[in-house]
Subunit: 245 residues, 2 copies
């Protein structure tokens, strides 16, 4: 990368046994990835782990130090297996306690009679965290340092991520161009290698697909310079057209 | 866990910029997770990383030492961005070279005239690796040590995983029972905590869903003792029924 500014980087940490057992297909990481790409933030790692406290704490500390942002999903509900807020408090070594503003949010959502101990658990988080609103079901997410903690339920996570994205400091937007053709990957490999050497600032990816007995190939060009992307896209298209002869 | 035998564990490493950019929703990890669950192997981590050689090598070495098995997907095609086979050779510190048997497979698939240099790249892998057949497009995956390297194209990956799974040594199968009800998570939280304390060998997860303005809740019980699962499932069902009045 020969860009002027250092890219802003991020990781996603998915906390959920149901993903690891294969019961649930995670779509949250994909949603976050798209939002980050729109903001010019480079997602560098997605990690899915079980709700084991030591694993959550170690992963949070590793990833928050390694990247500019860390986004977590899952484990902030009212039940015994919701350990994320406590683990993030321990990772930051700050008290895990009832957040006055989160308490007000829950009180307004449930009313005093319905604000049970189980629901009050959702007001406990790292001391002095900033809330992330939950327009769907009340219980907020939170931000501390460079870590953003969101719900696992996709509808709620999406609303939280949309909220976060509005104020997120990003960098140069990475644009992409896709050229799709009926060639096999190996038929374009040499030319793509030459083009990658010619355009070192553009990331050239080639993604074969196989459906109904047919191969197709998407060549995806990604970079911050739109004009260079257009020029390269035309070159790839010309080569693909010539190969199809 | 108070099981007699130590559980067999695994990680999945997804190598692919297209997942991290949000362009592609990964479904391979979910497929592998289901296969592993069927075999009694516990998937403990899924990690998605970009195709940066140092990152691939470090991740492979970390995960293959930490878990009993490591499964990788992506990056074994013929183009410049396919660096997985070389990185795994480097992680194991063995020569990255043309595999005689893989060469034969490619020769049979393409024929001599069509076996270009780009395609021959797909015969290069860690010395003495064991091939994983590719019934879809010829180019094989491979196994070295406890690492299984598969294609990223889902149809091909699935065929490779099915092949691997037939011979994979697993452990006690983790069975699951799901109880679905119209309660909110917080209405069952206390009872689930008590039940988790009563049944420490069963993993009790609660997963709220939100669709069309309605919450529903799945309580998922996972454990190796089918009889205990049935008993606990009945207890949860009774509690849920009573709460619904």
């Amino acid at each position: 990368m020969s860009e002027s500014a250092k890219p802003i980087t991020a990781a996603v940490l998915i906390i959920g046994n149901e993903i690891l057992s294969g019961r649930t297909l995670d779509k949250n990481a994909n949603y976050i990835a798209q939002k980050l790409t729109e903001k010019g933030v480079r997602l560098m790692e997605v990690r899915t782990i079980p709700d084991i406290a030591e694993t959550v704490i170690a992963s949070v500390n590793e990833l928050r130090h390694k990247f500019d942002y860390l986004f977590t999903t899952g484990g902030i509900g009212p039940t015994h297996d919701d350990i994320t807020a406590e683990c993030i408090s321990r990772a930051f070594d700050v008290p895990y306690e009832q957040h006055p503003q989160a308490y007000e949010v829950l009180l307004a959502h449930y009313g005093e009679a319905e604000l049970t101990d189980a629901r009050l658990k959702m007001a406990k988080m790292p001391k002095d965290a900033t809330l992330i609103p939950n327009p769907v079901s009340g219980a907020p997410g939170f931000n501390i340092g460079n870590v953003y903690t969101m719900a696992g339920v996709p509808k709620i996570m999406q609303a939280m991520m949309d909220h976060i994205a509005t104020d997120l400091a990003g960098g140069d937007i990475v644009h992409s161009k896709t050229i799709t053709c009926g060639l096999r990957e190996s038929e374009l490999a040499d030319e793509l290698t030459d083009l990658q050497n010619k355009y070192p600032d553009i990331d050239i990816g080639s993604y074969p697909r196989y459906a109904e007995g047919q191969f197709s190939l998407s060549v995806v060009l990604r970079g911050t310079d739109v004009e260079a992307l257009e020029t390269l896209a035309q070159e790839v298209q010309n080569i693909a057209d010539a190969k199809r002869g």
